[in-house]
Each structure stands twice: as C-alpha cells, then as structure tokens.
Amino acid sequence: MSKLVVIDDDRSVLHLVRQGLPQHEVEVAETSLAGLKTIREFQPDVVLLDVLLRETTGLEVLESIQAIDRKLPVIFITADADSDSAITAMQLGAFDYVSKPLDVRTLSELVTRAVRTRSMMNVPVALGTDDSTMAGREAFIGRSPKMLEVFKSIGRVARQNVPVLIRGESGTGKELVARAIYQHGDRADRPFTEVNCAALPENLLESELFGHEKGSFTGADKRRIGKFEQCHGGTIFLDEVGDMSLGVQSKMLRLLQEQRFERVGGNESIQTDVRVVTATNRPLEEMVKSGEFREDLFYRLNGVTIHLPPLRDRERDLPQLIQYFLTHATRDLNKPDVKGLSPDALERLMQHGWPGNVRELRAVIRQAVLNTTGTVIVDEFLPADLRGGSAIGVEFPPGHVSAPLIVPITEPPPMVQTPLGGMPSSNLVEFVQSRLRVGTQDLYAETLMMMERYLITRVLQETKGNQSKAAAILGITRGKIRDRINTFGISVDKSISVESPYHSNGVSEVGVE
C-alpha cells in the first residue's frame, strides 16, 4: 500500500483525505514541525501540503521537505485556483497542486499519478545478469549479446549530460532504459518525469511540456507551469517522440540548442537545465525524408542512440524472462500453486515470434497463469492467438537443455474451456460464466482485456486497417491503438479482399485492400 502524509491545520482536510483515499496509508500532521518529523519517520511516497499553515508558509516547508528527500513528490493544497504561491511552488519543483474545496476523485487521481512517478524514480532498475541483484528491483533481464551491449551503453551514457535517443519496437522496454539512465546518472537525486508524446493532441502536449499563460487559448484560465520548468535540474523522458508535431518539434529544438523556451502565449524567456531522454519506435530517418520530422532536431536528440533489440533477437533471454514474469504473475495474481510450464507450452513460447515483444510476453504469461487451474501451465492454457498464430520460429540449438522451470506432467491435463477460444470473443455472458467457473480473482481486468481485444480488432476491420480512422471512431489516440495491436498480436494484413476476421486457425486478422 502506498503511503501518504498530509500536512494541514484544517482538521476537516485531514479527515477528508483519510476517509476519501482509503487505498493509501495516511499519516496526518497539523503543523510543519510535526509534518517534517512524520515524513522522516513514516517515509511516505507522496506528501500533501497546505500552502498556508498557521506558523509558516507552505513554500518554506517545501524547501525543508526537499532537504530531506529531493525526489519526494509534494502536492500543494491551495485555497484559490489562481494562487501565485502555487505557481511559485511548481517552479520550485512541487509535483502539482490541487485547490480547495477538495474533490475526492480529483485528489485520488493526482495522488495515484504522484505515487507512480515516485515509483519510477525509486524502484531501481537492475542491470545485472546476476540473479542475486534482482531481488526487490525491476529487472532488466539479459544475457544475450545485444542486451549486454545495451547495458554497456547505459553505463557509458548515464553520467554524460547528452540527450539520449532510445530506439526499439513497441514493448521492448524503452521506459526501463530511460529509468536506468536516470538512476545511474548524476541527476539521480533530482526528479524524473515522463511524457508520452503520442497520448496528447498537439496543443495539450505543448502546454504540458512548456506551460502556458493565462488566456493563451480557450480554456486556459490560469497560468500553467510545464514539465520543463517544473523539472528543472532533473531528467525528462519523452516517449514516442516521433509523434511530436512539427510545431512542438521547433520548440524542442530551441530548448535543446539554447536551454530556453517560452510558455504558450508568453513572451518571457525561461532558462532550463533538464536532461532529455527520448524514445521512439518510428522510423525517424524516413520521417525526416518525408518531412514529418525535423532533421536538425533528429541530430540533436541523437547525441547517443541506444538500440533495444526485439525479443525475437534475444532468444537466450527468453527462458529467464519467462521465469521472471511467471514468478511475478503467480505472486500478483495470487496463484502460488502454479509452479511452471509443461514442455509443450514452453516450446510454444520459444517458437512464437513475439511481435509485441516483452510487453506481449508479460501479458501472455499473466493470461496463462490466470487460465491455469492446476499446478502446470500446459499448451491449452496459453492464449488462443499464440496457438494459432504464425511463428517466426526461434530454434532451439542442438543439445539444448530445457530450463529448470519445466515440470514433468504426472497427470493428464484437465479439460478446460479456453476463455479466448478461437477469435476475439464478443460473447460477454459466456466469457464471464467460464471465468467464474474457474474461480478467477481478476475478472474485471480479464473482461476489460477481452472487450478491448474484440473491440480493437472489430474497428480495425471496419476501417480496413486504417489506424487513424480507428482512433477517431474509438475516441482514443493512434498511439494507444498501436500499443494494443502489439499487445494483443493483432496482425494487420494486406490482402486483396476484406477477410472474415474468424479463421479456423485462431489468428486474429484484419484484411486490408
């Protein structure tokens, strides 16, 4: 459970937070002194701080908190939405602010974001190949030659103040690389923040990065401090930088060249000192040729490039990755009885092409653990797409000895109805029924996944594979569609006619003319 400290001399606020956010462990303090003491002892993940306390200002307290832990996210509680002190707090590095009267839902979302940011900064990314370094960390697993190169690059580049561009297919772990660079670098004691450039439309992205002045566009009713100003001295990770519009690209270029920028609608030139790490799965060189991406920006971002190999090029790492995700899945999904995979299930995983890379592998392992009713994951428990899909095979070298996670089968596999039988099922009733029968503990997430899989496939079929049109119909970003295509292994095929999405071999396909 994440931990929260609230410092406010208004008892009703302390009560509201405690009652309204039961998913967090909350400690309260009515004075700054008590609050600082509580922070030292309780070691929270997030602090909520009133901007005006009886004996001091919130800004003074913020400085004291930063002296204890520079990376601890602090959310200010202000009385007015327009508060100058809140804006000043943002400039000093507060995570965000929320104005009274407090809304429980808004507060909850904000605290959740802060907890996630805290975790990204603090959960160490282990680069070792030695299993003993993995305990308590998010592991960057790899013994394959290409991953060893990645680790070396991270080590070389972490302490240099140059922009880093991380390249790799979707789901290969680009965020982990960015965090590893941050944690092993000189700015590890300053904040780290992530922005997904594909997730926001152009004007919102510009505002998110650079801030905006009051009245700069419709809806801009107060000045906003952007990430580059807020994260001064720290590190910013811009994911999917290839999705940045040309307008934002120009501003980025200037920022990288001169370390200055203006807020949207503003004249004041603001100095910044931020380390920029970017990532993309798009072919930037081609985009430069076609004019979609600025050549000068490309060269600026490309101070150092780190290439993350696709999973199909990391065959040596597969058994260890499978083991890692299996351990985590059985723990997270509370299925301690699941002990391993049968030889045929393992073979299936080794043969799969993994278009969605490590992210797809993780999803498949989790799905398999959910489906499994006994102690062993057999082939039937693997998602149907895997069992019918085409394989860019990974060959076992001759004389290969199976990984220790294989368990000999002593009893016949139970008859189980695979929830995702055949195609993306659209039969909600049947699906829920079958999952209830097997005693699932994660039905909400499973049903959402089943719904998404069907919905995305169906809409892509409708738009004949056109992702932009699909995004418009669904009301989500293209980036999200691409992400789901990879996670679910939806294959968008080019063929002469529109194929039926239902194939007997169980592959989810969308035909495109």
């Binding site: 208004d10 009560h15 009652q19 309204g20 009385a79 429980v104």
Partner: protein
Amino acid sequence: MSVDNPVSSLATPSVMNRETALARMGGDERLLLQMADFFLTDAATLVAELDEAVRTGNVRGGHHAAHSLKGLAANFEALPAIAAARQIELSCRDGNLEACVPLMPRLKDEIARLSAALQAMMSHAG
C-alpha cells in the same frame, strides 16, 4: 418561510449546495455529514480567533483565521460565506485590519446561516 419543510427553507441554494458538496466527496453521505460536523465545531473557534486578531491588530492571525473559514465554507459551496470570509482575508493580507471591522457582522451572519443549514441537514439525515 414555510414551517413544514424547514430543511428546504434554510438550505436554500444560496446558503449552500448540498449536491455539489456531496459530489465532491465522491457521493459519500457519511463523509458529508462528518465534514458538516467539523464545520460546526471549528467555525465558532475560528470566528473567535478572528475577532481577537482584529481587536489586537494581529494581521497574520486574522489572515489565517479568515482563510481557514473560507476553506471550511467552500466544502459546502457556501458562496455568501465564502465571499464574506474572502473580503476579510484580502484586507488582512493587505495589512488593513481597520477595514475588517465593518465586515465582521456580515461574516458572522453568513457563518450563522450556514451553521443552521448544516444543522438542519444533519438532523434531517437522522
């Protein structure tokens, strides 16, 4: 003013907005009543503190008390009380305690009205 529906006659939209307040608390009726209880307990103390601050020329104390009252009232979307507290808060912030003196009666009135409305809300809820 009707006597057969005391809740609605006191909890008029202008004094407070129960629906808005409840929505902010995620629909938690119990939490709403607990917050009302906090107001009823703390508002009186804060008004007394404000009186004392104005009397003794304590600008900082006055600013803080007015600011806190404003915050408490804001939980219930009590616009008249918020406005009254804010006026005093701004005067204190500008160091002008004299300007607060004629503003105090109105603030006390609005706090009293809001308190009555909250009392009615609590007893109606049983």
